[in-house]
Amino acid sequence: MERIRVLIAKVGLDGHDRGAKVLARFLRDAGFEVIYTGLHRTPQEVARAAVDEDVDVVGISLLSGAHIPLVPRVIQYIREYGGNPDEMLILVGGTIPHDDFPKLREAGVDGIFIPGTPISEIIKFIKEELPKKRKGKSK
């Protein structure tokens, strides 16, 4: 029996995780297995968890505005730890200015969700985009 595994990570210094927790709960209700990291994780910690937990989706939530160094670094460390970020859906949620979208996409981010995005849209995105990504975990 296959289950889609999602990592929800809070990166950086901001201390708000209500949004991340609500999202985690909704994703669970949508049938996903959701691993929540808790607050203040570093890019290395998130990457390590993503690889060890062998997740299909990495959702990074940050409000601090430090997404430009932090998000690309998560992706870089996933690769360094032997994972393949191209097989994962990488999502970012938070207050991200439009101007930064291209940079994030270039770094390997698949979806960017600004505050106020309905959770149903995020779920729909995962369900539609993940099959295109996955080469299938079974050989």
Partner: protein, 330 residues
């Protein structure tokens, strides 16, 4: 990637391949059986420690602090944390990892090369563990992790699943963990080798401890009485006589009492290694998982082969007879 490569990776300590091997086993992909068969000869070296108790008693916190303590003692630590899956959607919130934080800020358990943490949804299995938890433990074992901590779903019902996988079972209680009856009903006294009253900073710890020790002493008396009867050589009774179940107090979030808990866990392992109980437990485990696998295979074969018969209007008793006779013949 073929199974050979994955097996090689798991054994040689490649985390990425270990992580993927766990997914293969957990999802029951076609190559799962071959993979498990190949790593089996490499298993049996790890000490598997079950951590069980009601939700919120502090299991994940204790797992984290024990991990730190075992690392201090130079042991590598694998962790499998099981949380309940929703029976309706199959989804699960796996929130045990977020407690993974040692007291020592210079030692980051998230990045420690000798710590491997994996979260699992129970995926429909009752009893505190997932159907594949035992096999995931085998992978960690083959990968060389010396101590494997298994946090079970704290369902508050009989968590007997932990007995199927653990060498040492630690039961966590806390002050005001519901009433005595609830604990009794859960059969928790029987499954535990070591008892911990966590959150001893809260009021009522003495009461729980007094009550628990009393209940355990009753249990002990029964064992001694039984041992006087003819079947005193019964292995289970002997086991109970050789191990007096300790009761410890901890304040897990402050790290208080963790060393003592680790000491008792080690002591239990030494005792069961010496008196042969460990070998016996493991034989029993191997037997049970073989039976489970066989039954599962036969069940799906029956459903496949007797589809037509099953759909026919025939009483189940006659049908069962028919199937058994035919299956036993082949």
């Amino acid at each position: 990637m073929n199974v050979e490569e994955i097996v090689e990776g798991v054994i040689s300590g490649n985390r990425r391949l270990l992580a993927r091997a766990i997914t293969i086993v957990e999802n029951e992909y076609p190559e799962s059986k071959e993979l498990l068969r190949k790593i089996y000869p490499r298993t049996g070296n790890a000490h598997v420690i079950g951590i069980t108790g009601f939700p919120g008693v502090g299991k994940s916190t204790i797992v984290s602090k024990l991990t730190e303590e075992f690392r201090r003692r130079g042991k590598s630590v694998g962790i499998v944390a099981v949380d309940p899956s929703s029976p309706f959607t199959g989804g699960a919130l796996l929130g045990d990892r977020l407690r993974l934080d040692g007291a020592d800020v210079n030692k980051n358990l998230w990045l420690d090369e000798k710590v491997f943490f994996r979260s699992m949804g129970s995926r429909g299995r009752l009893g505190g563990i997932a159907k594949k938890t035992g096999d995931v433990i085998k992978l960690l074992d083959a990968a060389g992790y010396e101590k494997i901590l298994v946090e079970t779903v704290g369902a508050g019902q009989s968590e007997i699943g932990v007995l199927e996988v653990a060498d040492t079972v630690v039961v966590i209680l806390m002050p005001e963990t519901g009433d005595d009856i609830q604990v009794n009903k859960a059969g928790i006294l029987e499954i535990g080798d070591i008892f911990v009253i966590n959150k001893s900073d809260l009021e009522g710890a003495e009461n729980v401890e007094r009550w628990l020790k009393y209940m355990l002493s009753l249990d002990e008396e029964t064992v001694i009485e039984l041992s006087k009867l003819s079947h005193a050589d019964d292995a289970k009774i002997m086991q109970k006589l050789k191990w007096k179940k300790p009761v410890l107090r901890t304040i897990a979030d402050k790290g208080v009492g963790i060393k003592e808990l680790a000491n008792e866990i080690e002591r239990h392992y030494e005792v069961i290694k010496k008196n042969g109980i460990l070998q016996e437990k493991r034989r029993e485990k191997a037997k049970l998982s073989a039976i489970e696998l066989a039954v599962e295979e036969i069940r799906s074969e029956i459903i496949k082969r007797y589809k037509q018969l099953l759909d026919k209007e025939i009483d189940p008793y006659t049908l069962a007879d028919k199937i058994v006779k035919e299956v036993l013949k082949c």
